[in-house]
Symmetry: C2
Subunit: 82 residues, 2 copies
């Protein structure tokens, strides 16, 4: 399946627990869209979060993020990885 | 060591070979600054590349990227990851 990197802005002050809770919320429903959220990284000072996933489409990624309460600001197909 | 996600813009049209060559250029000299470039992902349409690394500082990450010929446009410490 294609890989995607999505980016959330305006998350300044996010805690480690907050990141885990958001990721768990995605994991709980990701199966509904055949999305697999693999990893996420957060810079709490700049308020940016990066999420790596495998999914049928970027729309599927966004639908899961929206239902989990944190829509992405950017979603990039990343066909090349090393 | 702290983790960093750095972002390169203006890379539209980047090929898979181009990403690999850039990553290899980093790997070749990363030891000079105790940086470990772990993974990189590219969206050739939007021209954006994401690089995940472990490093003593974001300045060390940028010095390696600069010497390799592709300075980052953003470098984020990402202390939280899941």
């Amino acid at each position: 399946m294609p890989q995607f990197m999505d980016v959330h802005h305006n998350m300044a002050g996010l805690t480690e627990e907050g990141l885990k809770a958001a990721h768990d919320a995605d994991l709980a429903i990701q199966g509904d869209e055949n999305v697999i959220f693999k990893q996420a990284w957060a810079d709490p000072e700049a308020g940016v979060v990066y999420c790596l996933s495998e999914a049928p489409s970027q729309e599927a990624v966004q639908r899961i993020h929206e239902r989990a309460g944190h829509p992405a600001d950017e979603i990039h197909a990343v066909p090349f990885a090393v």
